[in-house]
Amino acid sequence: MERIASICPFCGCGCQFSLVTENNRVIGVEPSPNNPVNKGMLCTKGWNSYGFVHAPDRLTVPLVRKDGELVESSWDEALDLVSSRLTEIGKNHGPGSLAFLSSAKVSNEENYLFMKMARAVFKTNNVDHCARL
């Protein structure tokens, strides 16, 4: 068993806990006793927060729509399609025809790179996320 420092993925309290893992699976959480936010406590959502990690319907393969259906593809195919279509649409209709929804659920570093992509690569400020929702 291993214990790895993590943060609850639900609300904005930012409770710290250790994820208890075994054989590449999360099998429990242990709230951080010294963290000043949660002081060794968690709510019901926090105690069960790892419950969706190993859900059987996690996405595991890129999907691309072909003849109306989403079908499995390689990363190369999916990423080539994304980069070429976004570039092409931006070229044909202007940067304002593209928009990017960032996420209140991913890390700071990921939010930073995502908005950098929108602004530096695709030249648009059409970047937002669900802060208002």
Binding site: A5, S6, I7, P9, C11, G12, G14, Q16, T21, N24, R25, S32, P36, V37, N38, M41, C43, G46, N48, S49, F52, V53, D57, R58, L59, V61, L63, A78, V82, R85, L86, I89, H93, S97, L98, L101, S102, S103, A104, K105, V106, S107, N108, E110, Y112, L113, M117, R119, A120, V121, F122, K123, N125, N126, V127, D128, H129, C130, A131, R132
Partner: protein
């Protein structure tokens, strides 16, 4: 939050409005209850009988959407009775006369007519808040999700400045952020008007700085579209492509029928997520992402504290971290990105973001987190904001007039529907509905209706009812409860089987663009 969570322990009074804290921020909720146990007072302003109502010394139940009138009324009483902090007003603020002139029209009698709160209670609330030595205002989406959301927030700030309850330990204005990293997403420039640390896109100096940092020449200097205006642009055909990372607008946005039309009208939709969400089902490309346990990264909580989360396990199948996917797409577009680690990305954030300059990877690795602003590596971080002066110098009072919600009940739609969440579920349910214990506790959407209304309409507990607004209708079970006042209905947006945002009004605040989830006109009937 201008304060920190630790400061709850020394506050004398909490003015809590538009936050169901024990359900949505349970660990903060428990701090409030502990504080009450040691003698702090809770002053609750909320239309519903939420759990904190049982701990409150006074509970004002305002009519939905009348917050500005209530707060103006309190300020009027505080000024009339000379209970305001004259020294703070004189030394730290400007615009007091304009505030005084405006709020003087909000007499207790007029506020009672608008808000339904009786004059005696309003007076008591005003005195309690003004006279408390250390008072914290706490609010969440109940304040912001209105067409007057910005005015509501300004009015909270006016009240705090008037009484000097700001810029001190355990005294401040504290919006509670709903998602684990909504603070961070805003801080990192996931907004159409700002880069990281709220540096504005239309400031030429800022534009130049980012052009140099990123090695590009023609950054856009005009504000972009907000989420609501993106959907409008997609429907008009002006927006052609949308790339969604870890969000589910088809469930979370108002008036989902129109959101679906908007998304279907796009030439190209990319969704990057951990599950095939309602939105992902419409996508042209779906990219499988790692979840929080499967990657390293930093997250910023509601008290501005940046904390490091480690990678515990590998992602399932071919799923990859969001940041690795973005790096790959940028490279394929001919823009070189060479980050190998989270530390390398954070180091760039430190360089371009003054408020994050001292929040380095090495410091986070050996601490419980650092609160911004933190301008350099020697700085300990900031526990509470606005200590000796406001960011802009003097704090300006920004008085607001009361404006009614965009939709008010009429003879056809005679109820007002307000939406929120329950303790056991979370947002659009993508994560919590897959967790057995949580799903067992709250397995289905319920419509809260007051017993008097239920009796009049022949609705019993657990009856199927149909709720309709001008935008659509939804069927769900009724929960007959005095938790909601008469003529008010409450439900949640967790359940795709009863998609409550089919009903909600996309009318939004003109400044912040936030939709009016907290009030739309509906009617309700029992299904045969």
């Amino acid at each position: 939050m201008t304060n920190s969570i630790g400061e709850f322990e020394d506050a004398d009074l909490f003015l809590i409005t538009g936050t169901n804290t024990t359900a949505q921020h349970p660990l903060i909720g428990s701090r409030i209850i502990n504080a009450k146990e040691r003698g702090a007072q809770i002053l609750l302003i909320d239309p519903r009988e939420i759990q904190l109502a049982h701990f409150a010394v006074l509970h004002l139940k305002q009519n939905i959407g009348t917050d500005v009138a209530v707060l103006n009324g309190m300020m009027n009483i505080i000024i009339e009775e000379e209970l305001y902090d004259k020294e703070f007003v004189e030394k730290r603020t400007e615009g007091f006369d304009a505030l005084k002139a405006l709020v003087s029209r909000y007499t207790p009698k007029i506020v009672q007519l608008i808000s339904g709160i009786n004059a005696t209670d309003l007076e008591r609330a005003a005195r309690m808040y003004a006279q408390a030595p250390k008072a914290m205002i706490l609010y969440a989406m109940g304040i912001t999700q209105h067409t007057t959301g910005t005015d509501n927030v300004k009015s909270c700030a006016n009240l705090a400045m008037l009484t000097g309850h700001l810029g001190k330990p355990s005294s401040g204005v504290n919006p509670l952020r709903g998602q684990n990293n909504v603070q961070g997403a805003c801080d990192m420039g996931g907004l159409p008007v700002v880069y990281t640390g709220y540096q504005r896109v239309n400031d030429p100096a800022v534009k130049k700085k980012f052009e140099e940092a990123w090695g590009v020449s023609d950054l856009d200097d005009k504000p972009g579209l907000t989420i609501t205006t993106m959907m409008e642009a997609a429907q008009r055909g002006d927006l052609k492509a949308l790339y969604v990372m870890g969000e589910n607008p088809l469930m979370s946005d108002p008036d989902t029928t129109h959101v679906e039309l908007a998304l279907s009208n796009l030439d190209f939709l990319v969704v990057q997520d951990i599950f095939l969400s309602e939105t992902a089902r419409l996508a042209d490309v779906v990219l499988p992402a790692a979840c929080f346990a499967e990657k390293e990264g930093t997250y910023t909580n509601t008290e501005r504290k940046v904390q490091l989360s480690r990678k515990a396990i590998s992602p399932p199948g071919l799923a990859r971290s969001d940041w690795e996917i973005v790096v790959d797409i940028c490279r394929r577009c001919g823009y070189d990105m060479n980050y190998k680690t989270i530390a390398a990305i954070l180091s760039e954030i430190n360089k371009v973001t003054p408020s994050y300059a001292g929040i380095t990877y090495d410091r986070l690795r050996t601490s419980y987190g650092i609160q911004w602003p933190c301008p350099n590596e020697e700085h300990p971080g900031t526990v509470f904001l606005h200590k000796d002066q406001f960011t802009k110098g003097l704090g300006t009072f920004l008085p607001c007039e009361f404006k009614p919600p965009a939709e008010v009940p009429d003879s056809e739609y005679d109820f007002i529907l307000t939406t929120g969440r329950v303790y056991y579920q979370y947002h659009t349910g993508t994560m919590t509905r897959r967790i057995e214990i949580l799903e067992r506790e709250a397995p289905e959407a319920l419509l809260e209706i007051n017993p008097d209304d239920a009796r009049r309409l022949g609705i019993k507990n657990n009856d199927m009812v149909e709720v309709a607004s001008r935008r659509g209708s939804v069927r769900l079970k009724a929960e007959v409860t005095p938790r909601v006042p008469r003529r008010v209905l409450f439900s949640t947006f967790h359940f795709s089987e009863a998609q409550i945002n089919t009903l909600t009004n996309p009318a939004h605040d003109p400044v912040a663009g936030i939709p009016e989830y907290k009030g739309c006109a509906v009617n309700v009937r029992r299904c045969e």
